[in-house]
Amino acid sequence: MKISVIEFPGSNCDHDAYEWPLRMFGKAPERVWYADRDLKRADLVIIPGGFSYGDYLRCGAMAARSPVMEEVVAHAKRGGYVIGICNGFQILCESGLLPGALLKNRTLTFLCLEVVLRCETTNAPFTASLRKGDLLRMPIAHGDGNYYCDEKTLRGLLDEERVAFRYVSPEGRVADEWNFNGSMDAIAGILSENRRVLGMMPHPERASEALLGSTDGAAILRSAAKAIDKNGKVEQNG
């Protein structure tokens, strides 16, 4: 499996995203600069978190309109795999690869804390190795993670089982007090129609090492790697 990590001006979790597969598989991914159009034959593209363009205007808005994103969209349309973490999720929504938008947290403040996620579907490369209902601990760190979409879109997400993760209590219950940012239906991560694009606000790459308090995030990348290797290479253009 080949992985590329996109770097936008202002991305600040690009190092973390880069080291994620490196630490887990011992193999360095490729770095892709936002102004370039070469995804370097990636099967999986990681759009890292951070503050692309300072989060000015709207989180992810300017990054979504940069040249490299046209290639990412094309890659996704070809059946390529994409994971967007935090700002990466916001960029995926802004670019239309995922539905909905991420509004300001209901606290109106940035929130950095450890949350508990419940795996809501195993019908996706990123969760195929998990079990439905599995609880994962990892940090959130965002000011705009309050997931929103219109009724019809939400219905679609639910009907097609495209909600990947929800914020839950430590016992695994959906409850308002554990839905810190106020996301609709406690949604923490969603899938594209073909299930190969995942956007999520929490940071699995920060929770893949016991020293840092949790290894639960590793399961997502490991699962994706397994699924991608099984399904075979993604067709490349050019």
Binding site: N12, T109, C112, A141
Partner: protein, 743 residues
């Protein structure tokens, strides 16, 4: 626009007194031009010249085998082995944060980050020390919200985790809040960049944001007291642009990989003026600048304004002749301006041109390092002797420890800081092993087994009662916090926040504090490698308490040996390291319960403290303890209660049993005797720990057991408190949100 005529009166309005005016005319041999006057006024302001503090700061120990760079540069650098070094500094942004809390705090973070990456270090951790007025003051909630959001947004955006700090409330800060920002960066020990403008003919680059009229005279403002009048005369507030700073950071670090830089310095207070004069001054060279080449954001700016602008996110780089193209290439990639605005000369003068006309021509050295130096008169504050007297016997002893403990846990100075630090990204860069909520933050160094520990501490109340002892206690507490993780304290940075130095009592407090810091650092072998002085923290003649904030940095050789601060296993023994005498004077308890801020701070025996610091490191190394937590504000019972409330949930309680041996209850439970630590360990380790403590002449006492669900306290067999952890946590966590919930 016509420039005003330069007169002694105009100089006075610029904060230069008659002596200084005469001195500058002598240096020039003539009356200065208007831009020259501006330069003198900022360079000789308290903020840039340290004219009132310089003779005192000389007392600090500043060298040691590990110190690679002491004070005098943008930040200090300490060797941590394996070819790595850490660079750190703390700086105040007090006045701007009071005027505009969000932008003031944000640009404070931006400034300290630049000080660190200018040295060639990648910033990896931020801390912040915040001092607010009383919570009931009408401005306080607004100031807290603005400051915390400002610190958070800047650090979060740029991607440096904020991993710890301190928040203190006291009415003395009602009109003068303090915002102290600390940054630590990582660099190779043999690749330190410094602010030297050397090499005749080398080009001087201006890089980063464009220049506007922001904060003109910010530095002189930081050198003047507030009055209702200055609140009117606000300068254009600086607005932080963390996105541009992130680009600047990446561009500078990328350029540092090339062999292109001779010297580099950020444009902080007093902007282009201080950076160019200081760089030339250090190198003993001259500098020629064509000021109109500076990229400007606004039209119609004058030379005076361009020289004094404090626009943020800018740097001055002296490049190697011939390396111009590499500089431009890197900055173009990051979409930032990089413009040659001048060159290094051998004249020893600063010659500044505006559209071909020479507007400044002055010798560098007298301006940059022959600023006036004052040995200002000192006098002990009146009433201090009375304040230090307290007839403790006249006070009623604590009757209901349970109620007192609950009240203290929810009080402004002791309640959980979670509301603050959840607004800070604590884990970006994936190095944070222990973040906010622990005694000290612990950040690992990738590619090694090492981790760096850091803590900010000061108790202004102690400093008020005895500035010398208060400063020593701050160093001791910071070192203890660091050592509680198992790390060895290495060096400190400081931020000295005081009132008006022209008042004798303030100067006395300042001198005594500096002596206290100096002696403590000498005794603990933790030199002072960087720091900052902030005077004039006064409003309408009301000064703040002396507040010498200490930022201690330590090294843990093997991160696998770290110790955290919370009870981990039910059934563990709880032990107290250090001696309890019951010193309740000057304590949080006395202030909160009796409304008294009197007596002396707890006595500190530095030899014992040093022995304790050594013991903590051995206990970690031998893996004898499961937790260690410093016992400070609030005393023993608060320390034990804090050990119960884990940042990640899964609270464990304790059953504590103490012997009074004739001590008053308040002193036993809430006294703040120095040099104490609450630890937990398996019962098998206990004897070994006691032996190790005894070898060092230290007391170690078993005081209880870790249990589930409750905190129970017995004194001489009598029940004193029995609290469910749920109630304890509710009190502790409810404290801060209730402070800020008012509009």
């Amino acid at each position: 626009m016509a420039e005003p005529k330069v007169t002694p009166e105009l100089a006075l309005a610029h904060g230069l007194n008659a002596d200084e005016w005469e001195r500058l005319c002598n240096i020039l041999g003539r009356v200065p031009t208007y831009p020259e006057l501006g330069i003198f006024s900022v360079m000789w302001s308290e903020h840039c010249s340290y004219k009132s503090s310089r003779i005192h700061l000389k007392k600090f120990p500043t060298s040691g085998p590990l110190v690679l760079q002491g004070p005098g540069e943008n930040a200090g650098v300490v060797d941590i082995g394996d070819g790595w070094a850490v660079c750190f500094k703390m700086e105040s942004h007090n006045h701007p944060s009071y005027i505009e809390p969000y932008q003031g705090a944000a640009t404070g973070v931006g400034g300290i980050l630049r000080d660190v990456f200018t040295m060639g270090a990648r910033p990896i951790a931020n801390l912040n020390g915040l001092f607010f007025g009383q919570p009931s003051h009408p401005k306080t909630p607004h100031l807290i919200k603005g400051v915390v959001a400002g610190i958070g947004d800047y650090g979060n955006c740029i991607g440096v985790p904020t991993v710890g700090g301190q928040v203190f409330f006291h009415p003395c800060y009602d009109g003068n809040i303090l915002v102290n920002a600390f940054t630590l960066g990582l660099l190779r020990a043999d690749k330190i960049f410094r602010g030297y403008a050397s090499g005749v003919g080398n080009p001087v680059f201006y890089v980063g944001s464009k220049t506007g009229r922001d904060g003109i005279h910010g530095a002189t403002m930081a050198s003047a007291e507030f009055s209702d009048e200055t609140e009117q005369k606000r300068p254009t507030v600086q607005v932080g642009d963390p996105f541009t700073e992130k680009l600047l950071l990446e561009a500078c670090l990328e350029l540092m990989e090339h062999d292109a830089i001779v010297g580099i310095q950020d444009m902080g207070a007093a902007g282009l003026t201080s950076s160019s004069f200081e760089m030339a001054g250090r190198a003993g060279s001259g500098i020629r600048i064509e000021l109109d080449k500076v990229p400007m954001r606004e039209t119609g700016m004058t030379p005076y304004e361009v020289l004094l602008s404090e626009s943020q996110e800018r740097m001055l780089i002296v490049a190697k002749a011939g390396a111009e193209e590499s500089v431009k290439r890197v900055f173009t990639k990051w979409r930032l301006d990089a413009v040659v605005i001048g060159e290094v000369t051998d004249t020893g003068r600063a010659e500044i041109y505006w559209r071909g006309e020479k507007v400044v021509d002055m010798p560098v050295a007298p301006v940059s390092d022959q600023a006036p130096v004052y040995d200002r008169p000192q006098k002990e504050p009146s009433g201090l002797e009375e304040r230090k007297r307290l007839d403790i016997e006249a006070l009623r002893d604590c009757r209901n420890p349970e109620e007192a403990l609950l009240r203290m846990m929810g009080s402004p100075n002791l309640c959980s800081r979670r509301w603050v630090y959840t607004q800070y990204d604590q884990s970006v860069r994936t190095n944070t092993v222990l973040g906010p909520g622990y005694d000290a933050a612990l950040v690992r160094i990738k590619g090694t087994k090492k981790a760096v520990a850091m803590s900010l501490d000061v108790n202004p109340r102690y400093c008020r009662l005895d500035p010398y002892e208060g400063a020593r206690l701050a160093v001791a507490e910071a070192a203890r916090n660091v050592a509680c993780t198992g790390a060895r304290p290495l060096a400190i940075t400081d931020c000295l926040n005081f009132g008006n130095p022209e008042r004798e009592s303030v100067m006395w407090e300042f001198a005594r504090s500096v002596e206290g810091l100096a002696s403590a650092c000498r005794e603990l072998d933790t030199p002072v490698v960087s720091g900052n002085v902030s005077f004039y923290n006064e409003t309408n003649g009301e000064g703040i308490f002396p507040t010498p904030t200490v930022g201690m940095v330590g090294l843990l050789e093997d991160v696998g040996l770290r110790v955290q601060s919370f009870f981990e296993y039910a059934g563990d023994a709880v032990i107290l390291l250090g001696r309890t005498r019951g010193h309740v004077e000057g304590s949080e308890y006395l202030s909160l319960i009796h409304g008294l801020e009197q007596g002396t701070p707890p006595p500190l025996d530095m030899a014992r403290e040093k022995a304790l610091l050594g013991l903590l490191q051995v206990l970690a190394k031998e893996r004898l303890v499961h937790s260690m937590h410093d016992c400070s504000e609030g005393g023993l019972l608060v320390a034990v209660a804090e050990c119960c409330l884990k940042p990640r949930g899964g609270d464990l309680g304790a059953s504590i049993s103490l012997q009074a041996r004739g001590k008053r209850l308040d002193g036993l439970l809430f006294g703040e005797d120095a040099s104490r630590v609450v630890a937990s360990c398996s019962s098998e380790s206990m004897q070994k720990i006691f032996d190790l403590a005894r070898d060092r002449g230290l007391e170690a006492t078993p005081i209880g057991t870790v249990i589930k669900e409750r905190l129970q306290v017995l004194v001489d067999g009598q029940p004193m408190a029995d609290i469910s952890l749920r109630d304890l946590r509710a009190r502790w966590e409810g404290g801060f949100p209730s402070l800020v919930s008012r509009v």
